[in-house]
Structure formats: C-alpha cells, structure tokens
C-alpha cells in the first residue's frame, strides 16, 4: 500500500535502467539508456525534439503499453523490481507512478470528481472531502477553486487545469510523479507557479520531468539527463543519453561537446 512506499527503509534509487532499448515495431526509438533516478529529487530530461525523452519517461509507468507495436530490450528496475516482468500488472504500476501530461487533460467532470476519480477506483474509504482538499492544497490550487468544486474541471484556465491534473495525480498517493512537458501549453506566470509547486512536492515525491525549456531544467531540477538523436543510414532517428549529471555540473561544466553546444546555444 501507499504507506509502505513512504517507509524510510526503502532504497534511495527509485528507478534504475540497464541497457534499455525502446522499439516501435522494428524501429529502435531510443538506445542504451543507463540511468539511476534518486528518491525525493527532481530529475530533468532535456534534448532536441525527437530524441526520445518523453518515450523513456512513459516507460516508467508503462503508459507505452497502450501503443501496440511498442516493446523494450533491457531492464527497468523500480526499487529493484523488474517493471516489465510478465507478472507485473501495469495498472498497479500506474497507480504508484503518477503522470502529468503535456496538455492539461482534466476529465469533463466537476473539479471535485476529477480529484475523487482515482481514490474511488481504489476503493478509498476515508474522508473524501478532506482528501480532495489536501490534494488541491498540495497542488497550490485550493484557493482558486475552493468555492467552485462543483464547476467543471474543463472550465478552468490552462494553468489551473494543469495544477488540477497534478492534484488529481497526488490524490492517489503515488511515490513518483512523471511530468511530460507540463508547462509547454502554459503562459510564463503559470509556468513559474508549477515550478514552485515542484519544489514543494519533492519533499514527498520523486519527480521526473521532461522539458524542452533549458531554463526550467536549470532552475528546477537536481539532476539532468541530456538526450540527443542520431540518424542512421536509412534516415531513422534513434535517441540516446549523452550525459547525465547533477544539474549545475551539466549546465556549467559539461563533459561532452554536444551538451556544451546545446546548453549554451539555447542560452546564447
């Protein structure tokens, strides 16, 4: 249960990937991913578009299973368990590893029902009103919506919708929150709010965020992985990790020339 997840005896390495290759059919989308993701840290994935950073992120909660041709080689460990072992239930995985998407995607239901959706699925028996309030508070949107919990989630502004989606993810008490470019559809003010929120959340959760915004990665994250993409002779593009370091190291003294160019080019 969720309470076990929070126990202090567990490992600090939440995810470890070993020689992870990701395929769509015959097409190798990402190769040779070997990274550890640490507990209660914010890990950022950056890189040019098409480098497979979102694809890797979606492997961590098996959301790629919804794509028929998808399969992997190599292993992803979640606290030492092979996430893709045949006896693992992807539905259970997604419960413990939450996700916030690029486009805010509230259900066409009330704000209250959006939050209560996940807990209800899991047969939550406690005080739902309290859980809804706590989740909304943690996502820093309680003040905005406390008087209109019966309004439709889809009627909120884009930034509010995204914080609602974060609150919805928190409500099922996951250990990890995966964020797939959560601010790309938002204005700068909403973006800053979400970044502040991430700093709050990392006390309780492990966060992995994909972003194409360099400043966001350097501001908000503890460790950063830089992805790049190579094109083979047939014109197929395969992504790989160039460098994975603590964020200040990666931005200030990168080992690889490609990282240097990418990081400075954007800041230029």
């Amino acid at each position: 249960m969720a309470s076990n997840v929070q126990s202090p005896t567990q490992t600090d390495t939440v995810f470890r990937t070993e020689n992870l290759d990701i395929y769509y059919g015959d097409f190798k989308a990402v190769r040779d991913v070997n990274i550890d993701i640490q507990k209660n840290q914010i890990t950022a994935f950056i890189g040019p578009s098409g480098c497979g950073k979102s694809t890797v992120l979606r492997c961590f909660n098996r959301l790629n299973d919804l794509i028929k041709s998808f399969h992997i080689n190599g292993t992803i460990y979640y606290h030492g368990q092979d996430l893709y072992a045949p006896d693992i239930d992807p539905v259970e995985v997604r419960r413990q590893i939450g996700m916030v998407f690029q486009q805010p995607n509230p259900f066409p239901k009330t704000i209250y029902d959006n939050i209560a959706y996940g807990p209800r699925l899991l047969g939550f028996k406690g005080d739902m009103d309290e859980l809804v309030e706590t989740s909304l508070r943690k996502a820093a949107i309680w003040e905005d919506v406390k008087d209109k919990l019966k309004a439709l989630g889809t009627d909120l502004s884009g930034g509010q919708q995204q914080r609602l989606c974060i609150a919805r993810a928190i409500a099922v008490k996951p250990e990890v929150i995966l964020m797939d470019e959560p601010c790309s559809a938002l204005d700068p003010i909403s973006t800053l709010k979400i970044e502040d929120l991430m700093q709050e959340l990392k006390q309780d959760y492990t966060i992995v965020i994909v972003t194409h915004n360099m400043q966001q990665a350097s501001r908000a994250s503890d460790r950063t992985a830089f992805f790049n993409v190579e094109t083979n002779e047939k014109g197929k593009r395969t992504g790989y990790i160039v460098e994975y370091e603590p964020t200040e190291v990666l931005f200030q003294s990168p080992r690889e020339k490609a990282t240097q160019e990418y990081v400075s080019g954007r800041f230029g």
Binding site: Y77, Y78, G80, Q81, D87, I88, V91, E92
Partner: protein
C-alpha cells in the same frame, strides 16, 4: 545494499492478481463486448445466406424480360418491376439530386458567410425530415400527387422517394463542400472570380467524389424502400407505357408475392429479393469505394 534487497524491504505490490475483482470485471466485460459484436453479425449473415440460397436458384436472365405470373404455373419474371424501380428511383433522383446539392451550396457557401439564423433552421429541417417515417412520405405524395392527378403513378412514387433521398443528399453534400479547403476559395476569389464561378468551377468539382458517395447511398436506400411506394406507384402486372399509370417495383413485388400461398409467385419474390439485395449492397460498397480511393 543491492537493489533486490531493497525490493524485499519495500514489498511493493505491483504483481498481477488475476482474481482481484477489478481484473475479473475487466476481463468479463471484454468478453461481453466481443459477444455483442458477434451477435450483431449473425443476423446479417443469416439474412444474406437465406436470400442467396433461396433467391439464387431461380435467377436467370428471362426473369428480367417477362411479366409477373398469375397464381400457379410458370415463375414468369419481374421485367416490368425492374424497369419500374429504375423509373421511380430515376424520377426521384432527377428531383432530389439538384434540390439537395443546391440546398447544400446555400448551407455551405452562403449561409455560413452571413452567419444567418436561417442556416440553423434549414439544418434543423433537414434533420427532422430525415426522421420522418417513410410511410408518412408516402401519404404526403398520395395527398399531393395521386389525389391531384387521379391516378397512382411512377411520378407519385418518385416524388415520395425524392423526399426520402433529400436529407441524405443535403447532409453529405454539405459536409463534402465544407471539407473543401478555404484556401481554394480564397485563391479563386483573389483572382477576381465571382462567387458563382468559384463555387461551380472550383469548390463543387473538388467535392464531387464525396457528393457522389452520398447520392449513391441515397439511391441505394430508395431502391430498397417499399413503404412510400405502396400507395403512390402501387403495383402493376404489365409493362409501363407512360409514367402516369400504376407502376410495379421490385420491392413492392417482394412484399406482395411473399405473402401469397402460390409457390411460383413466392419463388419470384425470392429471386426479386436477391436482385434487390445485390443492387443495394453493390451501391453501398461502390459508394464507400469511391470515398476511400479519394482519401
């Protein structure tokens, strides 16, 4: 500390549990949905199988040349009914195709520009017309044409069927016109073309394949309809001399002869039903083929 040790400590329950109510429910529902689809295909297969088995054995070219038989005796033919179907559906098409396409042009090209409320009303009328029972369309054509001309006729039947076809044609043609990219219109208008030139020379030709699909679906439906024909075209044992006399159709022949106790007429009904189904399915498949090829 190794990772597997840690897993032991944490004891996360990520394992599948096939007997959990959630999993069981999910599996059961998947089976139910599959069964529904199978259940739906059964009647289609059963109808087609029966029509083919009963209809095909009597089928020959003579059926298309001869007249319906009297009770008992030879099987005769449905030549006049086949011609009658072409005649009534032809008349219906002559009315409903121009009517439908012009309405669609108004809806897609003019009413949208002016943002006028009439578009909504016409739209609404089209949807309601699509829901009017076909037999009521028959009573309308009877009251309007048969009563006025004093005779059941192919024209009355054609008018009843044209009302039936109209909503389908308006809808598909409007969709087809709206699907033509706005850049085509701008390019044409930018060259100084008038509205009528733009619509007739640019937009309409681009929409022709999709409109054709809609027209064929409407024709297919009209070919198979019986209710609006029953008391407009009525039926006839003879060849038509004019369009102003009672006219036999394939669908009315199936209805009339399927209910009689005489084997020769029943058999003719089966053969006619077979021809009817082949005609309707052929039109449907062709209609879809046109759209798919375009896409």
């Amino acid at each position: 500390m190794t990772i597997s040790d840690a897993a032991g400590h944490v004891g996360l329950s990520l394992k599948k549990n096939p007997s959990s109510p959630r999993t069981l429910f999910s599996s059961a529902m998947s089976v139910v949905a599959t069964l529904c689809a199978v259940l739906a295909v059964i009647p289609l297969v059963a109808v087609l199988y029966y029509i083919i088995v009963r209809g095909l054995q009597y089928l020959n070219l003579d059926l298309f040349r001869q007249l319906p038989p009297p009770p008992l005796g030879e099987i005769g033919g449905f030549g006049n009914a086949f011609v009658g179907t072409l005649l009534t559906v032809g008349i219906a098409s002559l009315i409903s195709i121009p009517f439908g396409i012009l309405t669609a042009i108004f809806l897609a090209e003019f009413a949208k520009d002016t943002d006028a409320p009439e578009e909504n009303w016409i739209d609404f009328a089209v949807n309601i017309l699509a829901g009017v029972p076909s037999i009521v369309m028959g009573t309308f054509a009877w009251a309007t044409v048969v009563l006025l001309t004093g005779t059941f006729s192919a024209v009355a039947g054609g008018i009843a069927l044209s009302v039936l076809m109209l909503p389908t044609i308006v809808r598909t043609a409007t969709e087809a016109l709206e699907a033509v990219p706005g850049s085509y219109r701008q390019a044409s208008v930018g060259l100084g073309a008038s509205k009528i030139d733009t619509v007739m020379k640019i937009v309409l030709p681009a929409a022709v394949p999709a409109i054709t699909t809609g027209v064929m679906l409407a024709v297919a439906r009209a070919v198979g309809e019986t209710a609006p024909i029953l008391f407009t075209a009525l039926f006839s044992q003879f060849w038509n001399r004019t369009v102003w006399e009672p006219t036999a159709t394939l669908s009315a022949l199936v209805y009339n002869f399927a209910q009689v106790p005489y084997p020769n007429q029943q058999n003719l009904a089966w053969a006619a039903a077979f021809v009817l189904v082949v005609l309707v399915l052929f039109l449907n498949i062709l209609a879809r083929f046109i759209t798919r090829k375009r896409g």
